[in-house]
Assembly symmetry: C2
Homo-oligomer: 213 residues x 2
DNA sequence: CTATGATTGTGCCAGAATGCACAAAGGGAG
DNA sequence: CTCCCTTTGTGCATTCTGGCACAATCATAG
């Protein structure tokens, strides 16, 4: 059925970088954006940009570039940024708090609809415009508001338990900031985010670079 | 000159995940760790794990697995985790605060040695054991302590300026949390960390999955 | 000492991703 | 209208990455 050639993973990861520049150019009221400029912000050759964008079906104008407005809309649609994604955030520690208050998410269609923690001292506190609630109220709120995404920002030991609770409540997308591999049913989409993993690869690159002298 | 077969990028990104399980098994006093188990935590087939580990030169014992202690040390060396990395963090907003207080970094050899901000109201405040300092004191501290890494957690508009200041002070590794592409000299190593980029790819995956029904 | 079961190391092939080069298309000057 | 400059779209060859299968190796039981 879906015989359209699905986009390669590496291309998909570059699209958000293109989106950054396109939004910027849109704000600057630049009518066109060239593949060369897009390549500069994503650190890839211009030909790669064009090939990536060809997966979207969007066509640029030779001699001019891509229509900024059109391309922005196309990226927003393709990346699903125009779809509202409501989420609950579990674990309001330092990281959880930062996520809850991060202003950039709104532009990407993410709206955090509820904060949960297990620490009685935190229940009732306000973070921005949201009040921290006890986890016992989570299932009810998720079902009532038909929330599809859960953000896990609890310590590693608690993460699997939270994931199971989220899934039992009907959530099928998890953005996981705990440094563990979650075990979930196949229909659940999990995106892991582990700063330590990136730190480790950076660390290796430092070693490699310094050895090269 | 350096004709050693450098490790493929995808393999490098998996190593920290292996390291997670190996550390765990080490704590559990398990003498050996199998490629099968490593594959489960990284979501890859066991054969891939073995090939990845072969880049390290480490050999497992057929019929048994990899020596947990040895493999852990090997990964720590290869990833450079045993090398202390001192860093200054610029921009103590919500994210910067969370990074400064993140407990997991120590295990990866990262030590944050100084916090800086430009907001007069924040100067002098304590975050954990560190006092927030004015950016004017940054160059001196970086030079005196021979700090090599800078962590940028300021708003997008300020990031390029901060990067230049860090580089002028002698820093050659930047962990960038601002959603911009920094322009830096070639000898400077930059690792970008953009939650919105990952959110966007997750968002696309949601669209794709939901369309598949 | 032998047989058995488990696990590693790796060669080979298929598939994915990349880089290059060039034809095609649009814009603008004269 | 024609020439020239700029930028896109993409076919092709190359390189990189992944999966599979199987021989080689080691531990253990009898």
């Amino acid at each position: 059925m879906s015989d359209r050639p699905s986009i390669p993973q590496p291309s998909l990861r570059r699209l958000p970088l293109y989106y950054r520049l396109v939004s910027l150019n849109h704000d600057k009221k630049l009518a066109y954006t060239s593949s060369r400029d897009l390549g500069l912000t994503a650190n890839v050759p211009a030909a790669r940009v064009r090939k990536d964008l060809s997966y979207l079906g969007e066509r640029g104008r030779p001699g001019v570039g891509y229509d900024t407005e059109l391309l922005m809309q196309r990226l927003e649609t393709f990346l699903g940024l125009i779809n509202d994604k409501e989420a609950v955030l579990v674990g309001v520690g330092n990281l959880g708090r930062a996520l809850a208050l991060y202003p950039g998410f709104a532009r990407y269609g993410l709206k955090i609809a509820g904060l949960f923690d297990i620490d009685p001292a935190k229940i009732g506190q306000m973070v921005g415009t949201l009040k921290i609630m006890d986890q016992s109220r989570l299932p009810d709120l998720v079902r009532r508001w038909r929330i599809q995404m859960g953000i896990i920002a609890v310590p590693a030991q608690a993460a699997q338990g939270v994931a199971e609770k989220l899934i039992r409540s009907g959530i099928s997308v998890i953005w996981n900031f705990a440094p563990v591999t979650l075990v979930v049913p196949p229909y659940v989409l999990v995106k892991d985010e582990d700063l330590a993993v990136d730190l480790a690869t950076l660390s290796h690159q430092i070693v490699e670079r310094d050895q090269a002298r």
